[in-house]
């Protein structure tokens, strides 16, 4: 972290400045810095800081989204070189996301997707009003670690249960973890339908996902 370049990378993410992040990523490649080091010691440190700041109420959702966008911009530059070197960034896990059948509200789900993907998860976003069958098919196809179902409305929360039942029917659980989220979702509901976890916001979802794939830390 003492390296001024890594420090600048971290700061570009905290500032939510995609142009600066892009430039720094390009400079890193031009000067022969290992792209994996750039991510791990520079940019990712910024995301971790932003997440912590959000957690303690010092940063807000728009700040967090801007940080995630900046992270995306940096990864876009670094990824081809990482592939070339065969040093792909370690993926924390594969997560299939979507909103429950009949629910078109995706703002929460999109936040979760952005935060999780910028933190190193591979996200397969099925979009809105996703059927249980679609969740199951995608989870099989990509060999998912986690399936996440979001529902805003009390009337569509039943769709979360249907997905979990479908995962069970297809024998995907307990290997595939099922998590749910949404404004009306409670711990009681999660327990009632047998979800492996629930979260009311994107940062909690990150901690939850990390724990479920065994990459959690006590502080996360």
């Amino acid at each position: 972290m003492s390296d001024p370049m890594f420090q600048a990378m971290r700061q570009s993410i905290i500032d939510g400045a995609p142009d600066t992040a892009t430039e720094l990523a390009q400079q890193a490649l031009a000067s022969g810095v290992d792209p994996l080091d750039a991510v791990n010691q520079g940019f990712a440190a910024g995301i971790t800081f932003a997440g912590d700041q959000f957690g303690c109420g010092q940063m807000f959702l728009p700040d967090l989204l801007a940080s995630a966008e900046a992270m995306k911009a940096a990864i876009k530059i670094l990824e081809p070189e990482m592939l070339k070197r065969g040093s792909q960034r370690e993926t924390l896990g594969k997560i299939v996301l979507g909103t429950a059948r009949g629910d078109i509200h995706d703002i929460g789900k999109n936040l979760v997707a952005t935060i999780l993907s910028s933190s190193g998860f591979q996200i397969f976003d099925l979009g809105t009003s996703v059927t249980p069958e679609q969740f199951v098919a995608k989870a099989k196809e990509v060999d998912a670690d986690i399936v996440g179902v979001s529902a805003l409305l009390t009337t569509t929360m039943a769709g979360q249960k249907a997905v979990i039942e479908a995962l069970d029917r297809n024998g995907l659980r307990p290997r595939v973890k099922a998590i749910i989220g949404g404004a009306a979702v409670t711990s009681k509901w999660a327990a009632e339908i047998g979800a492996d976890g629930f979260s009311r916001n994107a940062i909690d979802a990150l901690a939850l996902a990390k724990n479920l794939v065994g990459k959690g830390t006590a502080s996360a």
């Binding site: 959000f54 959702l61 078109i104 703002i107 936040l111 009390t154 009311r200």
Partner: protein
């Protein structure tokens, strides 16, 4: 003089409407397939599910909306007036949880909870209308919307603010109301209920919403647009920007509705809120949320339309000082704006939970708001009525105002006399010490005085037939043994 509050200048309202009409064309409004043909036959271009509605058409549709209308009680009397500056309140709806007054925890709402809310609402004059306040989780979910109305109609004579959960669910609810109003024509002539219909922000009249608008217009049963931009989340972050989006969504809804049946009643309503940048939630008790509701209603009033808003709710999880502060504040603001129907009383936890104890406390805030908008009465100077001198002529400097006949005849008009929910007694008096305990006692007292309306056997029979039919249609488990 009636006191009022106005947030928007006439110039700002003009700007809001100008941009709202622009939004109708660009980016346009996403619409459900149910209304595509209707829009195309009116000359609207619809590509890829997006309609571009010209201002001229929207203006024409605006012109045919009734400026006011009434909701009727079971006896057929006018009981709610949508229009002008009249202000009325109904309990919020429709969450799936209630606050258990013993455990002080949220638990799933059941039929008995809805019945209790309806009974209390029925006895309180502060509520001009009932709402289908909570979903009954002990009834089959597939007919949850119909079942709520079925319960409310059995326990109330008042008008009802309700809504359906699907395109298919509406007809059964209209049939229930018609059975109680002497048939569909009776319901059209003397509507008992208004139906909330929601666009999905931003600028999207989904399949379900557009379908409901059409069906309600054709049935002649009032629709209430509940557009809910979340400033910064699903709408522009500024109040003015979100109000503009709300206006565009409402104008689009009115266009669809009036194209289906000109002259059918519809309300310029909404549940706009800010978007909480920490939690991603919609804080209903925020002052900016109240400002959004006020501003949206002001635009509707400028257009001469009946209005609705979502206030008197709190983000607190308990019936505490925060709940009281947020709910009373927004009740006052809504009343001062002259919003025709203000929904939300009784709700806590940002609309996730209902509390009947809070409902009776909110009733006190509402009564205070009513008192406030009645303003300061000063008698008629032209008829020689004085403010104080005539009374001083009687008392001199004795200070014996309590003895004056004016005091006795006017104090009830001058002062709102609160129920025992509001504690003004001296320390050490008999009243329980905290407001929640007093509210619980008040709920018990009101439930005790409540009398259930007697419905004709033939109507009840029709209710049951409709519920059975809808249960089968929806493939739900049998409800009525």
């Amino acid at each position: 003089m009636r006191p009022r509050l106005q947030l928007l200048s006439p110039e700002l309202i003009s700007r809001i409407l100008r941009e709202a009409f622009e939004l109708l064309m660009n980016p346009g409004i996403r619409v459900g397939s149910a209304v595509v043909e209707l829009l195309q036959s009116a000359g609207v271009k619809v590509y890829g599910g997006v309609a571009r509605i010209p201002e001229s058409l929207a203006q024409k549709c605006l012109a045919s909306v009734p400026r006011d209308f009434y909701l009727y009680n079971r006896r057929g009397d006018r009981a709610v007036h949508y229009g002008g500056d009249d202000v009325q309140f109904d309990p919020g709806s429709c969450c799936v949880q209630v606050l258990d007054p013993e455990a002080l925890e949220a638990r799933p709402s059941e039929t008995r909870d809805l019945v209790r809310i309806v009974k209390v609402t029925e006895t309180l004059p502060q509520f001009a209308a009932q709402s289908t306040a909570v979903v009954c989780t002990d009834a089959p979910g597939e007919i949850g919307d119909l079942y709520r109305l079925f319960v409310v109609l059995q326990y109330s004579d008042k008008p009802v603010v309700t809504g359906s959960f699907s395109a298919e669910g509406l007809q059964g609810m209209l049939d229930l109301l018609a059975a109680d109003s002497g048939g569909p024509e009776g319901l059209r002539q003397r509507p008992r209920a208004v139906f909330d219909v929601c666009p999905s922000p931003p600028l999207n009249w989904s399949e379900f919403g557009s379908h409901n608008l059409l069906d309600l217009a054709r049935a002649g049963v009032p629709a209430e647009i509940v557009s809910m931009p979340l400033a910064g989340g699903t709408a522009p972050v500024t109040i003015a920007g979100s109000v503009t989006q709300h206006a565009a969504e409402a104008l689009a809804g009115i266009t669809l509705h009036q194209l289906a049946a000109r002259g059918s009643p519809i309300v310029w309503g909404g549940a706009p809120a800010i978007f909480d940048m920490r939690t991603g939630g919609a804080p209903m008790g925020a002052v900016e949320t109240a400002m959004l509701n006020m501003a949206c209603a002001e635009v509707g009033k400028h257009l001469g339309l009946p209005t609705h808003g979502y206030l008197v709710a709190t983000d607190s999880k308990f019936v505490d000082a925060q709940a009281g502060a947020e709910s009373a504040r927004s009740a006052m603001l809504g009343a001062l704006t002259g919003i025709n129907m203000i929904s939300g009383a009784g709700m806590i936890e940002s609309l996730a939970c209902h509390s009947v104890e809070k409902l009776v406390i909110d009733a006190e805030s509402i009564a205070s708001a009513y008192r406030l908008v009645r303003g300061v009465e000063a008698g008629d100077a032209g008829r020689g009525e004085t403010l104080a001198t005539a009374m001083f002529a009687q008392t001199g400097l004795s200070g014996e105002f309590l003895k004056l006949k004016e005091t006795r005849s006017l104090f009830r008009k001058e002062q709102y006399l609160p129920s025992p929910v509001i504690d003004r007694s001296a320390r050490g008096s008999e009243l329980p010490s905290n407001v929640f305990t007093r509210a619980r006692a008040r709920v018990d007292e009101l439930v005790g005085t409540y009398q259930q309306p007697s419905l004709p056997e033939a109507v009840l029979q029709k209710f049951h037939t409709i519920v059975e039919r809808e249960t089968k249609r929806a493939g739900a488990a049998a409800l009525l043994a």
